[in-house]
Symmetry: C2
Subunit: 147 residues, 2 copies
């Protein structure tokens, strides 16, 4: 069986992948974020995913605080994204931007409903304010930061 | 066996995940992007990953154009990121930013080597130029775009 955890990785990206890196996870979250799907049957239809796998993913999302389960008498259960779950939108957008550019353009744009403009991902330097190109970005250990 | 493909998903994010969504893939790419690892033994040591899995991932990356294999006589083989591979940095950064905020802060900052400032991810509207909050972002089918 594939593990879900990345032991020995002191890395926020690895920790994030422990919660959302399994097969189907990010596509379920995509449907919840951008198609407003909430019900088991909606995710199942959209993804063609085995019900036991879908159930396991949704359970994990609830346990990890990415979704909340809402149960009302006579209604199908609903899985609603929390703020923590919605905060993963930039991950889906970054994957989409890359797929659009390097694989094959997909069918959607992310839009700013206020003005109908297209939402663009950018990386900016908090120091000088410049946009930073992908090949310029470096890393620094936080423990070596100047005071 | 887990499939690698997401059949029936006309979605650039799903296409991206077909190339980088398997277990360990994004962490191997992280090490190549930000630690400048190139050799099989470096990835193996860093990740504690089974050699057969690592070999399979690196082969896929070469086949999919994310890495190039460099072979010189008497030297270990080297796997170098291509521009297509390096263009995935925003995906790793988005995962890191989310993990830092919602799970546990990791040990690194992404920096702009020119001025030593911290690189920040943002989503901006290409129409009005405003920063767009996660909860504001919507989607629109490209086929319904006005001319």
């Amino acid at each position: 069986m594939l593990g879900r955890y990345y032991r020995g990785q002191d890395c926020a990206a690895a920790r994030a992948l422990e919660l959302v890196g399994e097969r189907w996870s990010l596509l379920i979250l995509r449907d919840a974020m951008f198609r407003q799907y909430r019900r088991f049957s909606d995710f199942e239809k959209s993804l063609g995913i085995a019900p036991n796998v879908l159930a396991k993913r949704l359970e994990s999302f609830v346990a990890d605080g990415l979704m909340e389960l809402h149960v009302s008498a006579g209604e199908p259960r609903e899985y609603l994204l929390t703020a923590k779950g919605r905060a993963l939108k930039p991950v889906i957008i970054a994957l989409t931007v890359w797929g659009d550019s390097w694989l094959e353009p997909g069918p959607i744009d992310y839009v700013h409903p206020g003005c109908d403009g297209i939402v663009e991902q950018s990386l900016r330097c908090g120091g000088c304010g410049d946009e930073v190109a992908v090949d310029e970005i470096g890393v620094r250990l936080r423990s070596t930061l100047p005071d």
